[in-house]
Assembly symmetry: C2
């Protein structure tokens, strides 16, 4: 198996035009970023007009599962065969250089190109929803009441096949022009992370029911 | 002044097709979300192929400033007049219902449609870069060495005019089907927030230089 998502990975649309030293076509890197993030931004075009929709997702090999209401414009457009672009980005920190010009952010980002189709069979839909749920919060699916046949019918689930993908990232300290290092300006990195606060129990929850362990261990 | 971004706000492309009770065209709401977020996902189409690129931005009235290398494909495409879609989304929490079907997230999201043009004058570019910088980390611009004429030349700055926009959000506890409230399943919200960790000074920083206050007060 190639370590790139596809033999077409170096085609024009995913070719890393800028800063190729920050880029990667390695499958493992791409998977790791897709697995660490949980919010995707899905782009598609309708008669030349771009749309960008944020959505949750789950990954299984080269498939991304997306879901939404059966009436969603995005899902309909994609199911009709429109090319799609999915971006998942994690911001890891602000990079403060001595010069304004060399300020940057530390991040991990994947852009994936492909097409998506709606899943038809209830069983595959349920499977994909489980993958999305476990991706967001591992352990939750087993606790919640599973979707009924009617709920599955009201939910559209898309299977997006990654045809090409590339990763781009930055890490580490700022890089200043040599003559700027002497400036009396604080420089370094402000690390950022998504953190969970204390769980807020629903007011109708039975008294004394403790939050499950997977909530306290949430890390994305 | 209208409280919507544009008289065209209810046109087909930004019409809130799904869950209109969660939507808003109010200018104040749209501004507040754009000001709270700092990462935008910019979508554009090249011959029917969508691209979605994450980027920092700053806002001034109905303008969003985006920047990048002078060689960026995105900036060139947008400058050529291509319609663009900008999405900024903040995830505020995971919403855990008793049923898998009613799981959700709490979020604030803006989708904006418009076109962008490159700024030509060095002075306007410098102004826009300051807006972007102050949006991300207020107070920083005054500390850092300002961009030189050559650095400004190497930087493309786009002025994106919001022609239409809408906001969508969810907050509050899960809403379950009445018959599910009796299930012995923990339900509630896991609040999420982006947090800064301790600043990491650059190894070449002069000894004893303390991190500036605006770093310790970072909140996005």
């Amino acid at each position: 198996m190639s370590d790139t998502i596809s033999a077409k990975a170096a085609s024009a649309r995913s070719r890393l035009r800028r800063l190729p030293q920050r880029g990667s076509h390695e499958r493992e890197t791409i998977y790791a970023i897709l697995d660490a993030a949980f919010l995707a931004h899905v782009g598609f075009c309708v008669e030349g007009q771009p749309f960008v929709i944020p959505t949750l997702y789950g990954r299984e090999e080269d498939l991304l599962y997306l879901h939404g209401s059966a009436a969603s414009r995005m899902l309909d457009t994609l199911d009709a065969g429109a090319p799609a672009c999915v971006n998942a980005t994690l911001v890891d920190g602000l990079v403060l250089a001595r010069s304004a010009f060399h300020h940057s952010i530390n991040y991990r980002s994947v852009v994936a190109f492909g097409r998506a189709r709606k899943l038809a069979e209830a069983e595959r839909k349920a499977h994909a929803l489980r993958v999305i749920s476990e991706h967001l919060l591992a352990g939750r699916w087993a606790d919640a009441r599973p979707p009924s046949a009617q709920e599955l019918k009201a939910t559209s689930v898309l299977e997006f096949t990654i045809e090409e993908a590339s990763a781009k990232m930055r890490s580490g300290p700022p890089v200043d022009d040599e003559e700027d290092y002497a400036l009396p300006v604080w420089a370094g990195v402000l690390p950022l992370e998504l953190r969970a606060r204390t769980p807020e129990p629903d007011t109708r929850l039975a008294a004394g029911m403790a939050p499950p362990r997977y909530l306290l261990e949430f890390k994305k």
